[in-house]
Symmetry: D3
Subunit: 243 residues, 6 copies
């Protein structure tokens, strides 16, 4: 199968890193194609960034709609543009927050999210509520690590995350950790080994769940809330998107 992996920010280094992380867990027959928007911020650390990331995901989904992808993964923990992509892509579309929450909920009675900037916690909190994980998600914890610092994650950063995760597990009385940023994709294994509880990376979870759904022939229904966009005039740099 061919899986489109969309990085909603415009950091090429992060797009490459997320793509590599996805390929590590992908099944033998899965081809991963990683892309990023033509515009927008190099990282997503708030509502303003997120609005552009969502439009960037919508742009890339629109451009890729005819390429025959079997599934799409949106690789930013705020799940920006996932619903928009569902309207234009034929196969299932998964956000990495969504996938991580589902995975953790299948494993433990309660999990904690450890994320980057504290100001993004409210975005994760609203996703938790929207998806229905209020009871199994027992806490969302910022570390105030800037997203772009994750590109060169050294030992000190891993130590910081480990310490934050330990504090979160104790404070929340939870038994699994969800990594709250796609940029942490490569760190789940190390952290899981150190912490002794399941550590869920959303990129990996989304890739495997997308493979699972595609194998079962399950796709986004296009009969109602996720029907193709209605035809209408479009303006400015997006003028071509109305066709």
């Amino acid at each position: 199968m061919r899986l489109l992996l969309l990085n909603p920010n415009t950091s090429a280094a992060m797009t490459a890193a997320i793509g590599a992380a996805a390929r590590e867990v992908a099944a033998p027959g899965t081809e991963i194609v990683a892309r990023q928007p033509s515009f927008g911020p190099a990282s997503i650390e708030g509502h303003f960034d997120d609005a552009f990331g969502a439009a960037g995901v919508a742009e890339q989904a629109r451009l890729a709609a005819g390429e025959g992808f079997d599934a799409t993964v949106v690789a930013c923990f705020g799940d920006p543009g996932v619903d928009a992509a569902r309207e234009v892509m034929a196969g299932p579309v998964l956000g990495v927050a969504e996938a991580a929450f589902h995975a953790a909920a299948m494993l433990a009675t309660g999990f904690s999210v450890v994320t980057t900037m504290t100001r993004t916690c409210v975005i994760a909190e609203r996703l938790v509520q929207r998806y229905g994980f209020e009871r199994v998600c027992r806490g969302i914890h910022g570390t105030d690590i800037p997203v772009l610092d994750l590109e060169a994650a050294g030992e000190a950063l891993v130590d910081t995350l480990e310490a934050a995760a330990r504090r979160a597990l104790a404070a929340d009385r939870s038994e699994a950790v969800v990594l709250g940023c796609a940029g942490m994709a490569g760190l789940a294994g190390t952290l899981q080994a150190r912490l002794g509880v399941p550590v869920v990376d959303g990129v990996a979870a989304a890739v495997k769940f997308a493979e699972a759904l595609a194998a079962l022939g399950l796709k986004t229904p296009k009969t109602g809330d996720y029907a193709s966009p209605r035809s209408k005039p479009w303006a400015g740099w997006a003028a071509g998107f109305g066709a």
Copy 2:
């Protein structure tokens, strides 16, 4: 006071109409400046359209941030880009769905939303949940009237809305109506007279609530979740937005 009224779609006719509706209810000292994005769809009728509308609101808020507006209103019932605008504007920012829900909740034990395309109901439904109006909002009803048809709302269209509202009030056992599209801004008075229950137009409600908050000196707190966007590189047509 100066109030920025942002129409998230790119229909100039609708921008003008919404601006006129806002001026009709504005207090004597309130100046209404109505604007629209430089790009995107002519109407917002789904998640794909909405992603661009939100980025368009963010764009216009960013461009207007230094102009000294006292408050901002986002005039589309999905409240696209409201959170993004809060990070860049100095005064309070209100969405019209948000404002309409608050107004209706102050009046009646239960209200019904009557909106345009049925496929947009899920967007309103999620806003209702996010804002906490699950109990007072007793139903959301699509009429499958395309948004752009509202630009030339004739008698037949008003009759259609009246009939839909009557059905909604009876089915939901509710006692107020919220108009679920900024394009219906001019119709509240007529419908209220016909229906005999409060009919809330979000544009009008948002303008009056924005005036109220501004008069009280209440602004979005910029100390945490709505702090100014973090500085970082931006790419493509939005390259200038990172400064």
Copy 3:
């Protein structure tokens, strides 16, 4: 417009103070008429007091029903008698807790309530649940300041409230403060200046929202749950209320 401001307790000093606070924020054309019940406790600090306050609001609303008020505000943070007043008054009726919650929810992702006696927190908590603000209200904090002590609020009392607000903001990770007693009406400005986050006084918020609703021609629907009271025999000191 003429606005009836009902103080549910029988402290004439507080009625005067609340009236003065309301006049400070009222629009030029708004006349404020402040009244209090003919019976009941001098302050409301529990369920027993509250039951009499609610009946006192109902009494005063019933007596004022024919005087042509455009809107009514009930100035006690437990919102006693608001629903009763809605059945007899022609215009909108707002409680100050209700108004403060709505205002704070329009501004911040989360707010904290700072109130008087800890024993009244449960009353505010139930209002938060009833109105649907469970997610945006992140904490309710008692200071154990008796209500009547607010009548002569000196510097020490303001310091106490400021300290309590700072603790609440930190503990709740919230970014706005709601003052949980109508008797704090004059203190919002000072506290907002000191705290650097929005501080919402319910009396001021209710006056401005009442003006907003009245300007829009929005009234309590009298067709169902808030219909005029049914005619029936009344007994005792309230014998005249059944007509």
Copy 4:
């Protein structure tokens, strides 16, 4: 044990009828003392009536506080004044809606409420939410029978209630009926026999639960939210209540 049964309305006939119904189910050693307020409406059919009923319950509880009652029951389905009574009475205080909901929740996976005037359904709905029975209460149904008509409940009225209950059970897919008015206290047996599902009368349930709690030595805690009212000046006809 001595049980105080408070009828919040001023209909002496209903006070007598409720007292008789209570005595029918009371245990041999239970003495039932039925009383009503010195003021207020002859029936409670809305928020305005309810405000006076609550104050009336508070008045009677205050007057009876020193008489050594072991438990108190408030016999109106809106549970008016229950919290107020808890602050002044030594033993447990139960509302009849509360008791009926608890009883029905112990029996069936879902129950329906059948009540009098449709306009009172919202009061029951809010109690259901406050007490936490949102999931087990599957519907609240008005019959628009005036409360005082229940005093002389003939065969036609019972037929009307039976029909309403049958419709409710089918529409709600529920398996028990809660009678939504203390005035229906004598009808539970007949209706249960006809309907073939449990029919819960709140007066009977409250009496038995009050006996159960009293037998176990369980009382309202007076250490916090239900502590005795704070001492303060009282005015008007209630001037004596502050001591």
Copy 5:
């Protein structure tokens, strides 16, 4: 009346102790018959134990179905097998967690649960959610006392529970304690005297509520969700249960 008291574990000492505790609170005419399953663990301290306890309750209920019991109580705080027993017993069936939650909710604005092993808290938490007590139950606290240690509860153990209860009351701002294990049945009186707040033992509460429901002629409805089990083949040691 004859009341079947089922201990879901296989500790004969605990069956006897629970039976004795039940007899202490039972009304003069109530006969208590205490039984335990023919198989399974000697105590229930987790999901694996609980699965067998539930089947054991179902077994004993099935065997006792024809003996004319008026009501059944299941004496383990996870309420294992309560729903199964409802399908085969003629009278009402109550779990002790269920009964304790209902009793505490009638008394206080908030209660805390103090239980045995911390790992069982999640079971109590799910019951709280299922029954709708999320708001009134303010905390569930493990003491890591093994259940079987309760059989010989000495002074040190009571001191441990008292200390845990004091911490819970303070941390949760609650005003009543629910004992989270049927094995604590004899300790409520002592703890209530020491703590000065209501202490609810589920066994006692369930016995009294069962008596109350039976006195009112209220039984589990057998018309739907709790209808008698459908006839079908059964295998293995349970082969006789399908008749």
Copy 6:
């Protein structure tokens, strides 16, 4: 990987059919081992049956714990014994209701469950609440098809299910169907082709999700709520389970 597929009922024909359905969707390297309890009912159609099914799953999990399975799936829509199995199995354990709900929630804004006996709907409803799918699950619909009739599902039965699914989709305004019985495992493809919306079979979904979790090295945490059962005496036919 080796996957243990547990059928909680004792119908060997159904065990074989579920095993075959699982093998059809399993990845090339996945070995499916299907087993059933040594005791209990031939189908699970209520709470009484379910209690034995849960104990049967616990029994089989206990017996298989040392066989090195990488993951376990419990193939009955009530998810009986899933938590018990988590305490004794090393790899992840998934129920088929759980898996189906997660899969449907990744695809559509709302789904409907179509199940067998109406009396089992309440079991599915409680799972929906426990797992947090209250908002995305829009309805649960019984067909009153006995479970064992599914063993020889002919054309008429498929027509019945199709008709029920169409009614459910329309009534619930949903866009995906979840098959509410493991016995329907072979019918998803046919129904999906006829209905034109995603049809989710929980057995297939659970197998693929179990493969996904196992591939990611994610297991049930054994550090807290799902720790191994505590050692204690066991009695009767289960005497050996305490070691």
